[in-house]
Subunit: 109 residues, 2 copies
DNA sequence: TTTAGTACTTTGTATTGCATAGTACAATCT
DNA sequence: AGATTGTACTATGCAATACAAAGTACTAAA
């Protein structure tokens, strides 16, 4: 029984929602996303984020364009597609339902 | 992008917490657990529950004894060990932290 | 030119929810 | 008594994803 592993398992499925939310507030690139997640005590590593962004792009929830950086290599800036916005709303409901279900199961208010 | 798959992913890591909570309220067997989860809109199937109960038993969070049933095959009744109670408390905190982190990330209150 | 920092890509692993197939026990039906 | 049905549990394989690690590529500074 390893609590760190459980934390990782608990994150599965939830990170999509978090990342779509962050992007919905305006164009960002990967390091922005990692920074915002860290600020919210949601630690996610590159090996998770990049494949996830790729999946979301392949599912047509995201689009991106390359933007020259003035202090390093070019960056991929992401935005939500209209499909991405629709799914984000759905994920929001799904998350809320999950919280309610878990709190009911565990009898927390 | 399949919302049902996302729901399954979101459940990962959380079911332990739910199941330990249910058992903490008194001895139950597997069908009791499935019923309580269903009542809380937390659908879990046998193929998930039994291996999970076995894992928790192997991790020494649960103990069980066989009890004759008066209307069918014998049943395995589970209780929390003291380690199980300790971990349940830890999982409760972990869950609460996750909810806070997600809601902060998604800017929900 | 080399080094360091930044950004992204790729791949393999571990874990777990789900689906499915099966075994076993007890009660009821034929 | 044997067959069927319902209940309870076991075992296995698959899909998906977070993480770790290795690598490529671009830019600026040394």
């Amino acid at each position: 029984m390893n609590i760190e592993n459980t934390k990782a398992q608990m994150k599965k499925g939830i990170l999509e929602y978090c990342i779509l939310s962050i992007i919905s507030r305006g164009e960002v690139y990967a390091s922005d996303i990692i920074e915002e997640l860290k600020n919210s005590k949601m630690i996610v590593v590159e090996g998770t984020l990049y494949p996830l962004l790729t999946r979301l792009k392949n599912d047509e929830l995201l689009s991106y364009q390359w933007v020259e950086s003035n202090s390093g290599p070019p960056r991929k800036y992401f935005q939500l597609t209209s499909e991405g916005k629709r799914i984000l709303k759905e994920l929001s409901e799904t998350w809320n339902e999950l919280v309610i279900a878990v709190n009911r199961t565990t009898k927390k208010k």
